[in-house]
Symmetry: C3
Subunit: 445 residues, 3 copies
Amino acid sequence: MDASLVADLFRQIDALPIVDIHTHIDWQRPTARNIGDILSYHYYTELTHSAEAQPGESPEERFPFGDSEQLTRAIWNKLPLIGNTVQYDWLMTISREYLGLPAGAWREPDGWQSVFRRSVEVMDRPEWGAQLLEQSHIRRVMLTNRYDEDIDGLDEALFSPCLRTESFLHGIHDSAEREQMAAFLERPLRQVADVVAIIDKAVACFCDHGMAYAALSTTVNMRTFFVAEEEAQRLLDRVNEGVALDAQGLEAWNAYALARVCDACRRHGKPFHLMVGVNRNTYAHGVPSGMDLFDSLNSLSGFDYLFNAYPDVSFPTSVLADTTGLELTAAAWIRHNVFPSGHWWYSNQPIDIARELRRRLDVVPRNKLIGYYSDAYYLEFVLPKFRMYKFELAMALAERMERSKIHPNMEPMTRDDALDLAQEMLITNPLCILGLPSLPHPSGS
Amino acid sequence: MDASLVADLFRQIDALPIVDIHTHIDWQRPTARNIGDILSYHYYTELTHSAEAQPGESPEERFPFGDSEQLTRAIWNKLPLIGNTVQYDWLMTISREYLGLPAGAWREPDGWQSVFRRSVEVMDRPEWGAQLLEQSHIRRVMLTNRYDEDIDGLDEALFSPCLRTESFLHGIHDSAEREQMAAFLERPLRQVADVVAIIDKAVACFCDHGMAYAALSTTVNMRTFFVAEEEAQRLLDRVNEGVALDAQGLEAWNAYALARVCDACRRHGKPFHLMVGVNRNTYAHGVPSGMDLFDSLNSLSGFDYLFNAYPDVSFPTSVLADTTGLELTAAAWIRHNVFPSGHWWYSNQPIDIARELRRRLDVVPRNKLIGYYSDAYYLEFVLPKFRMYKFELAMALAERMERSKIHPNMEPMTRDDALDLAQEMLITNPLCILGLPSLPHPSGS
Amino acid sequence: MDASLVADLFRQIDALPIVDIHTHIDWQRPTARNIGDILSYHYYTELTHSAEAQPGESPEERFPFGDSEQLTRAIWNKLPLIGNTVQYDWLMTISREYLGLPAGAWREPDGWQSVFRRSVEVMDRPEWGAQLLEQSHIRRVMLTNRYDEDIDGLDEALFSPCLRTESFLHGIHDSAEREQMAAFLERPLRQVADVVAIIDKAVACFCDHGMAYAALSTTVNMRTFFVAEEEAQRLLDRVNEGVALDAQGLEAWNAYALARVCDACRRHGKPFHLMVGVNRNTYAHGVPSGMDLFDSLNSLSGFDYLFNAYPDVSFPTSVLADTTGLELTAAAWIRHNVFPSGHWWYSNQPIDIARELRRRLDVVPRNKLIGYYSDAYYLEFVLPKFRMYKFELAMALAERMERSKIHPNMEPMTRDDALDLAQEMLITNPLCILGLPSLPHPSGS
């Protein structure tokens, strides 16, 4: 590692504006109000609970989620146990960059009170959101939205809504969800045409607010295949009669509904962002949002049908399992409509980012690489997460520059070449692949 | 790589006393008597046989296992073929450190005789065991013991028995094993209550001798699930009637018996160490203990039931397949009762250790990391194997220190920070997670 | 990375003659006639198509394959989109080394014409083939041949035919293929004995021309098992009656035919080279040879039967999925008849080569390592591909040398040690494992 080269590249890459193509930010309250909000992020509750089990009958009862101060206090004493983790490092970046508190402040006994106080001073101001955006050069933020979410009033220059589509798949089984869908559609979902209609209505409505893409996080080993309308109608009828679908019926319904989402993407010219391979609610004694895992046995081959059937739809794709990493790289290598997107969740840590990054850099066309997204719940997490990635990117590019000087097959790669590639991966490609307008300032064009 | 930093860290880490949480050492004869014993370790027989097939009708006949001198001679000429391997490097460490013979002695034509002679001089002395322990700073050694092994007289200050539980699962099918179980229980296993009783008797008996944990090496893709007592009884009845269980019956029996072991662990407050994913007796033409492989298709999801059903039992867990590495890391990341433990067998080599180590260091709470165990059959192997790991650990920590100086999210990591982490992984955590007393000397406290 | 050490090792390794144990080279036209031939290689058509979809109803229509100039023109403008890839780097090596054109020539607007012209000047000369072999030190080249290919006149000092055996497996289902087999055998394939006979005839015929080995690229998760002759006969009867075999029937036929190929290998003392785990024709909208992918869910365990049943047949083995990498390493570690061979297709890129290389170097006997093959369609690709590998090998060996200076278990590894290992992996082992004569010149002996 040439430390000064890495540091130099990092500084340049860190100066780029941020385009964050996937977050769970609430556009009506995009920032935290205090450090308790920050610590309520499942990474901190799950890691401290994992380090030393929290009591509590249910996930919600393990931490005092309703009381930011008490939550801070509950987590504080266990933070040293996770001081080795990258998630702790994110927290320290938030502390340093936004609260002006050095890491040492977190090691004071009973320091939680002064940290909490300071966090309120900074974060609980009306101008905090705008200031954070400015300070962190955050320019575009994609959201995660339900079909029936009221997104009127969204600042479309900053936020782009993205339609989460799980409801149209698994949701069909949940009577409360079906009622909500019926309310949104203003009629019950009786016919498969109603499902087509609700998807189309949602997409059209989102398009009015600058929709970026449709999105789905998939179960492990999801399979896609052609499902005839008649079969789908039979399945829907059964659901409407209150009969639970068996595994095969569920799989067929999901395949059907997924294809209908793709139809809508095609009609409206929108990409479909896939996040592949999560096992929900696996850990019974977890904390909220900290109960899901993945399975190393997960294949992308279940999407062959979909990728082939919709050559005119773009599929930015993330995978959760490290074992699907090269499979995604290979798909992006030959399939014109698959784009490797960021590094998701359990794979969003340095060593796996580093490997996937190098794979993609070596064999996927450069215009197809979507570098990173934060998956953040508050805007405060965008910067530290991007910095984690950007450091790995600087490492990979520095290594490439060094190798290129002696590699028999390569021309010397210059610092400018490296920074061009970084800018494409972080700004140009994401905007272009998602069909979003360029950034107004020249630095990001 | 900052070679001097790595070397410095390694020296410090190498000076730590050794706590070895999994071995196959025979407490009544813990050291080798000569180099032939050392070379009888399956790594040498399997590698030299793989390099150039040994004749022989059966695994036992490929090498003269009964004659240490002839075994040494048989392996000697093929050793250059495996001179590139880490296993050969272990051998050289044994030679240098214990026999005082440089690697060059192994390249002398017909040198086997003088090496053998020297090995007898050193190893075949009554004081050799104590001397080796002292020289290598080995302080605690966990064993692998059958339920019916006589462990009276065990030096509990050094050795802790660990109850291997395969017999209660697959063993039920083997009439000789069933007879031995009946002998141990002093009655035949007719009722499932008898199985509960034998497990409890074994655990209670082991607890009297400072039991560390129960242990199981699992088949590939083992599944755990609730099995009703009635069903288990039916399966046991069938076995007792001499009927072979089908695959489904076997799976159910294994799931049932495994849960009963967990019950006993719960009652006695002991951890259950899982070693996941081996295919036994795969290679028909192998050597003893050199016939097992793994399958890259192996999932931890089969243990979801068990991990959820026993939140109050600790599960130190090792995986054999590299493809299960991140799955284990993720489980240890969120599950409070899963602890990533060492690097097992085919994954116990530098490149895979390096990756798993970094993953765990980045996202698993530091108090949950069990660094390493040797899996050794003779105490002589403990040091070289630990050194292999400790070198990778020194590499990872040096890299972390270097990165921390320029990483935007990290505070500078000092040498002391790095060594603290190493000590936790190698001493504090293993002792604490297994509920063993601290080491008497301050260096290991 | 010690750049000067890597560069020094690379230079030495690059000076070694090339033994290329797997190519698709046409021995009657082994070199390209112009740069259009080079760009027709699927890596360039698939990557530029992936970067920006080519129009066209069928794979064949996406590019003007029949017109080298127009093909060059079609690909030219998209080349900057794949400028980051290793495949582009191969192209630049071809340009520099063979055409004498620097990379800059490829960035000239409309430069395609002058590049094309220059390529014709160089490549379309009768002496080009001999010149290229001399310049690139290519000494032995294994081919890929159909059983009925006329290989009379083959230059056996340079080329060795290798019998591709897919026809005897899947081909049995294809009536055109069955007719060709009947023509070759001079009688229809009615009895399983006819299948034995055609395999034997093909192998015998190939042996007359210096056959290196039989070869098969396998589908994902292929299983091998014993199939009785009677069952195979029933399957063959059904095929001959025009009945399509179901999945189980197909699997059984494949297992049967594969074993018969092994019988022939055994009789003729030839190895069987396996290339494991491809999904053919997965990408419907691809380009020719750019439609296949792999599945991360792929196990080697399906070959247990075969490896055990033919202990006297050598199986050089490549895997396509990164997830099968350690499984192959472990198989080669203990099985005497499995040899890890090169780095195939989607795994043939720097990061995955680097990992597999280190795994194999650390635990597989050195005499079993087959370093690399090019898989090339024209001789021009041999050098750039070998250089990609040789650079990774130089990196791994340099790292080993550096580590060995401070590693507690290792003796210092000298430059000569490193180069000896490289020569074994690249020359000695491949020739020895495939039973080919040594190279005439001392440098390669």
